[in-house]
Structure formats: structure tokens, C-alpha cells
């Protein structure tokens, strides 16, 4: 089902890619990368692991000017724009003043977005949300059961003293 929905959105993916800034200093891509079948086929994931990112499927763009860069430039814009070529998902990260940390965070955000994109309801985020909700419901039920038992015990205590007094 996933594959067919991808095939139908193929022209959409191409148009999104064509909007990519051609003057960027990121590696120019010449061909559309093959669809990552391994991600689609894998299905439900171990709840501890997100699908690892493949660098060859990512394209980064930075603001660094047109000169030789390095010492010759002093720019403070450390925004990282990360694009996943196959899905067209774009992540922008400008959270910190360090380019390296922004790159790492952009990849973390991309991993989570790809998980949701490919796995939908089976994604890590949704799985954990459901798990948290389930545990919350279980706790509620337990608390309710305990309250019910206490209530029954109190009621039986209220009934018992009359019997005890009769037998004694």
C-alpha cells in the first residue's frame, strides 16, 4: 500500500526537488535516488531503534557565502537545511550557535520525521504514545480496582460486627 501511494506521488516529488536551490554549495544531485525499499519492507521496528539515516540520501545546505570560506569569511548564520532526497522531507535547524550541533540535531529531527513518514501508525513516536496511554489506563484501572476492594471491605466490616456479636 505504501509503495503504490509513493508511485502516485512521484510527479509531486520531482516538482519538490526541482525547487531546490541550484546555487547552493551542497553536493549537486543529478539523478533521483532509488526508493529505499529496505525501509518500507522492514515494517514494525524494535521500539528502541529508529531507522538509521544514510548520508548518501541526504543533502545539506549552509549559508557560507561565495568566497573560499574558512578564515576568509566571518558569518554567524549557522542554519542547517537538511533534505532527504527520496521523500522530499526538509528539516531546518537553527537551534544553536554551533554548526556541528545544528547538523546533529537536524539529523535527529529527520530520523523522527522519516519514521513517521514511512511507518505511520507503527512509527516510534506513535508506538510510544500508545504505550504511554496504555500504561496510564492500566494505572487508572488498578487504582479503581483497589478503591473498589476497599469499599467492599468497609461494607463487609459494617455487616460483620452484628454477626460477631450474635455468635459471641
Amino acid at each position: 500500500m505504501m509503495l503504490s501511494s509513493v508511485k502516485s506521488s512521484f510527479p509531486m516529488l520531482l516538482s519538490r526537488i526541482s525547487q531546490w536551490d541550484p546555487s547552493s554549495f551542497a553536493r549537486p544531485f543529478l539523478t533521483l535516488k532509488p526508493w529505499p525499499l529496505c525501509i518500507l519492507v522492514s515494517g514494525k521496528k524494535d521500539s528502541l531503534n529508529l531507522v538509521p539515516l544514510k548520508e548518501e540520501e541526504l543533502e545539506e545546505q549552509f549559508v557560507r557565502g561565495h568566497g573560499p570560506g574558512g578564515q576568509a569569511t566571518n558569518k554567524t548564520s549557522n542554519c542547517v537545511v537538511l533534505k532527504h532526497l527520496s521523500s522530499g522531507i526538509v528539516v531546518k535547524c537553527h537551534q544553536t550557535r554551533s554548526v556541528e550541533i545544528n547538523r546533529k540535531r537536524a539529523r535527529e529531527i529527520m530520523q523522527k520525521k522519516l519514521d513517521v513518514f514511512y511507518n505511520g501508525e507503527n512509527s516510534e513516536i506513535w508506538t510510544r504514545k500508545r504505550e504511554a496511554e496504555r500504561m496510564k489506563q492500566e494505572k487508572k484501572k488498578k487504582a479503581k480496582d483497589i478503591l473498589e476492594k476497599k469499599k467492599q471491605f468497609k461494607e463487609s466490616l459494617a455487616a460483620c460486627p452484628q454477626e460477631n456479636s450474635e455468635t459471641a
Binding site: R64, G70, Q71, N74, T96, R103
Partner: protein, 373 residues
């Protein structure tokens, strides 16, 4: 033709000629800028009049709009002012300064709600003071007096060279190399302590980053500028990393033998040396030319003067198979490979070139082999 070349006929002693040539080029460049109407700050004036103040300015600081100003409105206000005055990165400059006044590092780290809060009177005053300095083309890092390098926040002070983002990748390269060695060695026995030399430490970004990450590593850091050594010491003290850091103020072009004696044997050398070609110096933006130490940038005619000296020193002080990690100008990897293939540095082999995040050849890795020098 360079203005500096006119001075050749005046000087006779080779060493003095070399030294004075470099200084004359710097001074003549400054003179040319002044003739062109730029406001040029010399280091002595910077020290006496405080960071970032420029006496020869002809603009008027804009008055704040009436009434209390919200954070996001303040950012927009100064973004417009910077744009009107052709200050580069108007939006980023405004955002970093306002964030700093609010005690944050970036606007993006603030809650949305905070962006509509009004600034207090003292906050407004501080924003106006800092933004006025930015109007004078003072780099943002000097305006706010600090900047981040990977996980560290370092004090910044003119004219000490401001770390560039590419240099963060240089540190990553070294980390990866050390970690891969650790995996290889760890099965054999406990790791001995590692010592490295950093040439041209500036604000201490590289050496402190490595000291912070690797608790067993020791550093020797060298810089010819007293301001750089003092700032590195200050940053090391603030980060609690001074005990594993040995600082030396010296010019490796003049005092290399003294450095060799003081260093002993080191496991690797790392450097972001001055690597700009002299002929490219006058193309640099005013933020750099007016406020940063130009000697931290000018690498001579081919940008290789300090780099070549590092290779020479490396032959003497590196342990067997010790590496040299350099950040360079994109033309340098090819030039260095040629020099080495011509036998200029026997005992040193060229191992690898790495590209930076803009795909420019930026990092050279070399290694001392066990061949006799």
C-alpha cells in the same frame, strides 16, 4: 602589484626584510583602507577605547520607537536598521544580539510567548548599545563578547581570531582518528596518556574542545599573540581545563628550536594556521579587516608560511606515526602534495584530504613515518 613590494629596495638584512615586509604589507593595507574612507581600528586604539568602538563614524544611532517594545518588534526594528546601513546578516545580527540581552543563545531557544514580551528599559539600553557597535561593522561575536564552538561557550575579545564553523569539523576529524585508535589499542592494554600540540590557539577553541572531550589528553598550545594566549588562558580557567594545558607565547617562524625543546615528543599536531594568500587579504570583509588580528589570517604569498614551518617542526617533535591535522585554504591540499612529492619534507607523508560542509577541500592529514629524517 602589491604596495608591499615597493619596500624591497629599502631593506637589506634577509630576516628583517621578511619581518618588515609582512608588517609593511599590513600597515600599507590599512593606509589604503583609510584612504578609501573606511574606518580602521588599530589594536592600540581598540585596547584603550574598549571593544568595538570606532571613533571615525559618521552615522547617528536611531532613536527607539515610542512606548514599550516587544522582543520580536525590537528584532525587526534593528533588522531594518542594519539593512538600511548595508550591514551583512541584518536578521541574524539582530537576533543574536537581542537573544544575548535576554540571556539566551538563540532566539529559536526562547518560548514563543517570550517573543511578545516587552523589553525592560535596561534591556532596551543594552540592545541599543550593542547594536550600535554592530552598526560599526564589529563582528557579532565581539559585540556580545562570546561565541560557541561545538559544546563550549568561549569568551571572544578583539583582536583575537574568531573561530570559524569549518574548524569544528577539524576537531571531529581528530576525535574520529583518536577513537578509532583507541578501539584498536584497547584490547592490548591500558591507553597511555596522549599529548598534542596546537599551533595558533587563538581563543583556545581547538585545544579546549579536545581537552573537554577527552579527559586523559594533554595539550601544549602556542600562539605568537599575547592577547591570544591570555584569552585562551581565561577560557581554560572558566572551563576548568587549565591543569592539562601548557600555554606558550612564541612565534614558530622565529623560535622553532625553542618550541622543539619545550615541547618534547607529541602524539599529534593540530592547527588552523594563518592560510589566506597575502594577495587575497584586501578582499576580506570589513568585519575581519578592521577588528581581527590580520596576522592570524595572512599566510604569506602562497598562504603556506606557517603551514610549512609546522611540517618542519613536525618532523622533529612528532612521535613515530604521529599525525598532523591542518585546516587550510582550498588550494593548499594540491600544493602540499606536490611539495611532499618533491621531497621537501622527508619523513612526512601526505595521508588524506577532507572536504568541509560546503564541499571545499579544507583539511589535510599528514603523518610522520619512521623513516630517518
Amino acid at each position: 602589484m602589491h604596495d608591499g613590494e615597493d619596500c624591497n629596495c629599502v631593506l637589506t638584512n634577509g630576516l628583517i626584510q621578511y619581518l618588515d615586509m609582512r608588517w609593511l604589507k599590513v600597515m600599507l593595507l590599512r593606509e589604503r583602507l583609510i584612504r578609501q574612507g573606511c574606518s580602521v581600528i588599530t589594536h592600540s586604539r581598540l585596547q584603550s577605547s574598549g571593544a568595538g568602538s570606532a571613533p571615525n563614524t559618521s552615522f547617528v544611532t536611531p532613536s527607539p520607537p515610542p512606548g514599550p517594545l516587544q522582543v520580536n518588534s525590537c528584532i525587526q526594528f534593528w533588522k531594518q536598521v542594519f539593512s538600511q546601513h548595508k550591514i551583512p546578516e541584518p536578521e541574524a545580527s539582530s537576533e543574536y544580539i537581542v537573544a544575548h540581552v535576554l540571556g539566551a543563545k538563540t532566539i529559536q531557544s526562547l518560548e514563543n510567548k517570550q517573543l511578545s514580551d516587552p523589553l525592560t528599559t535596561s534591556q532596551m539600553q543594552y540592545v541599543w548599545e550593542l547594536c550600535t557597535r554592530r552598526l560599526q561593522r564589529v563582528p557579532v561575536q565581539y559585540v556580545i563578547g562570546e561565541w560557541d564552538f561545538r559544546h563550549l561557550t568561549l569568551k571572544m575579545k578583539p583582536p583575537v581570531f574568531i573561530p570559524r564553523p569549518e574548524t569544528e569539523e577539524l576537531v571531529v576529524l581528530v576525535e574520529e582518528d583518536l577513537l578509532s585508535r583507541e578501539k584498536a589499542v584497547i584490547s592490548v592494554g591500558p591507553l597511555r596518556e596522549i599529548t598534542f600540540l596546537e599551533v595558533g590557539c587563538g581563543s583556545g577553541a581547538i585545544c579546549l574542545s579536545l581537552l573537554h572531550l577527552l579527559p586523559r589528553i594533554n595539550a601544549i598550545a602556542v600562539d605568537k599573540s599575547a592577547e591570544a594566549i591570555n584569552l585562551t588562558r581565561e577560557n581554560a580557567d572558566r572551563l576548568g581545563l587549565s591543569d592539562r594545558l601548557n600555554l606558550l607565547q612564541m612565534d614558530i617562524l622565529l623560535d622553532s628550536q625553542q618550541l622543539v625543546r619545550e615541547c618534547g615528543a607529541v602524539d599529534f599536531i593540530i592547527s588552523n594556521p594563518p592560510y589566506v594568500f597575502s594577495e587575497d587579504m584586501n578582499e576580506l570583509e570589513p568585519e575581519i579587516l578592521q577588528y581581527e588580528d590580520l596576522q592570524a589570517l595572512d599566510g604569506g604569498e602562497h598562504g603556506l608560511e606557517v603551514i610549512q614551518q609546522i611540517l618542519t617542526i613536525g618532523r622533529q617533535i612528532l612521535k613515530k606515526n604521529g599525525k598532523i591535522f591542518l585546516e587550510v585554504e582550498p588550494r593548499h591540499p594540491a600544493m602540499l602534495q606536490m611539495l611532499i612529492s618533491q621531497g621537501c619534507y622527508s619523513g612526512i607523508v601526505y595521508k588524506d584530504t577532507k572536504r568541509d560542509f560546503c564541499e571545499r577541500p579544507r583539511f589535510c592529514i599528514l603523518q610522520k613515518t619512521f623513516e630517518e629524517v
